[in-house]
Amino acid sequence: MAKRFNIRMAGVGGQGVVTGSHILSTAVINAGGESTIVPFYGSEKRMAPVESYVRVSDEPIYEIGEITFPHIIIIFHPQVITHGKSYTMPFYFGLKEDGIALINNDGPMKLHKDQARELEERRAKLYYIPATKISLEVSGMDLATNMALMGCIGAITGLTNMEALEQAVKDRFLGKGFVVSGGTAALDSVVERKFKKKQELIEKNVAVMRAAWNYAVDKGWAAKDVQRAEAPAAAAAV
């Protein structure tokens, strides 16, 4: 049976939802799997709703378009839930039974009682990860929140590995890039100025990913056979 996850990511403009989904998709392909992405957003501005649909599998994917019934949803920003900043309302609409909701928040959120009941009825697994906090602690800024979530989901699906994720980050920021739009390109240059050089940007991003990967493993969320990823010893010297 094919290992297959349809992932719906919801966040707000500027968080790198589309960039994150592209990196996950590339990382799954780098690890020998199959993946497609469908970004979905309106006007490009900070804090406006953004969704991205990622399909990952170990077999060919023929399906096209938006994902209505996801196995996994990733909530990049608590405001997706609290302010309804999403194209999909409520945020778990269509989540399959026994599905996973990976939510970026420092600890469990207090959900409306109807929402909590509906999530319970479909036996949803609610995984809260302090992705922004991990990003701040590891890289010194919050802009790697998407990297934390991608590292975490990489471990949960078990369809990629840290080497493939690291390669995907390099593909994204070194030449073979995938730039969605002018807005994304402008944000790229802001991100780049915050670091002395691109190499540092990549290392910090990968470090955030690795921390979140290990967070998932430590929490017992990771797929069977997925191990903690230790930082390569040589990297510290660079």
Partner: protein, 444 residues
């Protein structure tokens, strides 16, 4: 001009830039195109080695045009469209297409394409959604004028409330024109159907336009793997003398362009001529079957149909969604087959009668409101199959069809569980009660 005179641009600003030094060896932008070698269609489609690339549907159409020896392409790039005609413009710059221009709107484009084809050259254009309907007056007259053309229709919403997303209801308008109509599932189909379209449309016993449809955006703007022949080879040029009607001679119009010029006064002979002419157009559509079989490998593809509990019949993007539905059904222990209809005109009537003879359940998912494919299927197999036909699920206005909806219909069709997504009026045949059938007949 004296030496002291300052050069200005048309707005009067001084030109201060320094002209680029003339390059020593001026590179011929058409050099690569000039080196292209003509090969037979048989070699091109059946033998030539191919390499795989990851490209968009628009790029796939462009690559097909590159290898198709196209003489004339006319663009009208309205929104919603695809990048296809823009990319064909690049081919013109590179010398792969001999003539290219932008029309003023679709009525003009389709009329000009008719003129181009009638004068004996190989023509290509692409449009979408509202553009298709605007151009439809011209398009509907192409088959009667026996004009070989390949036109791409990247379907978009045409009904209100307006949207620019994919919805293939416009295909239903094209089905009645007398042209050949293919429906592409993915980028590979866009490439293959376009190239085969040129070859088939120009066969003497066909001499008809070919429409290559796809569900826009899903196919045109997304990337997929496409296996392509080397770009150094191309199809033979159009040989217009092989056509069913002579090319245009402005002094002596050879094809009967107007029924009773100039007064349009009708009599029995005029009606008779019109009938014979249209019969011949549709007979030509029938005669294209052998070429579709030869160059495209059939009007449909069938997978896992023998012994299946249910068969999904789909075309275009619905076929892509159905492949996943078949996989999900397998995981649930349901043995489901898939028939993908590639050619809508001619329609694979005989093939479906043979494949569906023993079927108990047929599900026809579609990306439009009216369910034109379900009606085609029901008409084709009527009397040859006792299958219950579920004409759905359907999505409209550009929604992606959730694969789960198709699985639901298969499950409910097999278990008798009431379907929540498909109206009773869309369910035909099988062990349904007469009231339901009557309801269906009223609603069809």
């Amino acid at each position: 001009m004296s030496e002291t005179e300052v050069k200005t641009n048309p707005q009067g600003d001084p030109i201060t830039s320094v002209a680029a030094p003339p390059s020593a060896a001026k590179k011929d932008p058409h050099a690569e195109a000039k080196r292209q070698k003509v090969v037979t269609p048989e070699y091109m489609f059946l033998e030539a080695p191919r390499t795989k690339e990851f490209i968009t549907g628009s790029e796939a159409a462009k690559e097909a045009v590159r290898r198709s020896n196209v003489d004339l392409a006319i663009a009208y790039p309205i929104t919603p469209q695809s990048e296809t005609m823009q990319l064909v413009g690049v081919l013109y710059g590179e010398g792969y297409v001999k003539e290219y221009y932008r029309g003023e709107e679709e009525v003009g484009v389709m009329a000009a394409i008719a003129g181009g084809s009638r004068s004996g050259v190989r023509c290509y254009t692409a449009t979408a959604g509202p553009g298709t309907l605007r151009g439809l007056e011209g398009i509907a007259s192409w088959p009667g004028h026996r004009l070989p053309v390949v036109a791409m229709f990247t379907c978009r919403v045409v009904n209100a409330p307006l949207a620019i997303q994919p919805d293939n209801i416009e295909v239903s308008y094209l089905l009645n024109c007398g042209m050949i109509v293919f429906h592409a599932e993915n980028q590979q189909d866009m490439f293959d159907f376009t190239m085969a379209g040129f070859t088939i449309s120009e066969k003497n016993d066909v001499t008809l336009p070919v429409g290559v449809c796809c569900d826009g955006f899903f196919v045109t703007h997304a990337r997929g793997y496409v296996r392509m022949q080397d770009r150094g080879i191309k199809l033979p040029p159009r040989e217009a003398w092989r056509g069913a009607v002579p090319v245009l001679d402005a002094e002596n119009p050879p094809a009967r362009l107007s029924r009773d010029a100039p007064v349009q006064k009708s009599n029995f002979m005029a009606y008779n001529i019109h009938a014979v002419w249209q019969q011949e157009v549709w007979a030509a559509v029938e005669r294209s079957r052998k070429y579709i079989n030869k160059y495209m490998g059939g009007l449909l593809t069938a997978e896992n149909v023998e012994g299946a509990e249910a068969i999904i019949i789909a075309s275009g993007s619905a076929a892509a969604q159905s492949r996943e539905a078949v996989r999900l059904c397998k995981e649930k222990g349901l043995n489901v087959g898939l028939i993908k209809v590639r050619s809508l005109r001619p329609f694979p009537t005989q093939e479906l009668r043979q494949l569906c003879g023993k079927a108990k359940l047929i599900v026809v998912p579609e990306f439009n409101y009216v369910g034109w494919l379900a009606k085609e299927v029901a008409t084709a197999i009527y009397g040859f199959s006792k299958a219950k036909i579920i004409g759905g699920p359907r999505v409209y206005g550009g929604q992606s069809m959730p694969v789960e909806l198709i699985v639901d219909e298969v499950e409910s069709g097999l278990t008798g569980k009431k379907s929540t997504n498909v109206a009773m009026s869309q369910i035909m045949g099988g062990a349904v009660n007469p009231d339901d059938v009557a309801h269906f007949m009223r609603s069809i």
